[in-house]
Symmetry: C2
Subunit: 190 residues, 2 copies
C-alpha cells in the first residue's frame, strides 16, 4: 500500500453519493510532502512518454500537476473555469459536466500556452466519470496537440472513467485506485 | 535582480489599468522551477516566524503557497471562493473585493483546517490593494489563529497594499516589488 492509499484510509471520509472527501490533504488543505511524493511517482510513471507540457484543470488539479511538473521539469497549464481579463478574446473552450457541482462548467485554455505539436500529459486529482479529463483532451486536440498520458491521484473505478478515456489510447495511471466505497468502507484494487 | 524579476521583465505584459499579465509563468501557465525557487526563497525569509500553517486563496495563490509549504514542511490551506459539497455547513466566510473581477468574492475556509492557536503564514501571488490578504487575515483571526507573516510574489507598491496591511504588524515580503508600470515600462524598487 502506498502513502496516498494509507492517507485515504486514515483521513478520507465517505460522504454518500459516491463522494470521497479528501479535503484534509488534497482539496482544501494540502499535504505538501504527500503531494510532492505523488508528483515524483507520476514523473517516474510517465518518464518515457515524451511529454512537453502538463495540463490540468483548476482548482484541485493544480497541486498534483505542479509537483509532477517540478519532477519532470515541464511547464504546467491549468484550464480556467472563468475567463480572466488577462486572457485574449480567442480561446479554446469546452464544456464538461461537474459531478460535485451538478452542472456544466467551462474549461478554457489560452492558445498562447497550448500550441500545435505539444505532447500533453494530463494530471488531475480524481478520475471518476472521466468527463473533465475528456474535456481537457478536447482542448488539447483543438490546439493540434496530442495527449500522451493521463495521471490521477484517486480513481473511482466504479464510475467508469477509465473506460470512457480508453478511446484516447494512452496510458492511464492512478496512484490510489478505489474499487468500492460500499458499506462505509474504502476498498482499493489489489 | 532575482529570477522572478528577470522573468517579469522578459515575459510580463502591461495591459493597462495597472494590470500586469504574468499568465505565461504564474497565473495560467506555471513555470514550476521558478515557482519552486520562489517557494525556497519564502521559506528562507520566513524561517524564523514560527508558522504552523500556510494560508492562501484559490486559484493563483496555490502554486507559490504549495512550493513554500514543501520547503517549510507545513500544511497549506487554500480559501475556496465557492463552497464545495464536501465542506460542513458552518464555515469561516468573508467578502473581499476582486480587482480583476470587478465584484466582491467570497473567501471560505472550513473550521476543520483552521483551528485556534495556529500561526499562519499568508502566501499569495499578488499584493495590490491588499484586500484579498486582509480577507484571509480576517478568516484566520475568526478562527482564533494569528498571522505571523505575509509573502507575495509580486507587489505593486503604487496600489497601497503594504500600507493597508501594516495594521497587522507582521513582516511583509515580496519577491518582485514593482514601483511603476507607467509608460509601458516595468520599474522595480531598488
Amino acid at each position: 500500500m502506498n502513502a496516498l492509499q494509507e492517507r485515504i484510509l486514515r483521513d478520507g471520509k465517505i460522504l454518500g453519493g459516491g463522494i470521497l472527501k479528501v479535503d484534509s490533504f488534497v482539496n482544501h488543505q494540502v499535504d505538501p510532502m504527500l503531494m510532492d511524493a505523488c508528483g515524483r511517482d507520476f514523473a517516474k510513471r510517465f518518464a518515457n512518454v515524451g511529454a512537453t507540457k502538463i495540463l490540468t484543470a483548476e482548482i484541485s488539479g493544480i497541486a498534483p500537476a505542479l509537483t509532477t511538473a517540478i519532477h519532470l521539469g515541464l511547464p504546467v497549464v491549468y484550464a480556467r473555469k472563468t475567463k480572466p481579463v488577462t486572457m485574449p478574446d480567442q480561446v479554446y473552450l469546452t464544456l464538461a459536466p461537474s459531478h460535485t457541482k451538478g452542472r456544466m462548467v467551462e474549461l478554457i485554455v489560452s492558445p498562447e500556452y497550448l500550441a500545435n505539436g505539444e505532447k500533453v500529459l494530463i494530471i488531475d486529482d480524481f478520475l471518476a466519470s472521466g468527463q473533465t479529463i475528456l474535456g481537457l483532451a478536447r482542448l488539447a486536440e483543438a490546439s493540434g496537440s496530442r495527449i500522451v498520458g493521463i495521471g490521477t491521484l484517486i480513481e473511482k473505478i466504479f464510475e467508469g472513467g477509465r473506460n470512457a478515456l480508453s478511446t484516447l489510447g494512452v496510458p492511464i495511471e492512478s496512484i490510489a485506485c478505489i474499487k468500492s466505497l460500499d458499506d462505509g468502507k474504502i476498498t482499493f484494487v489489489d
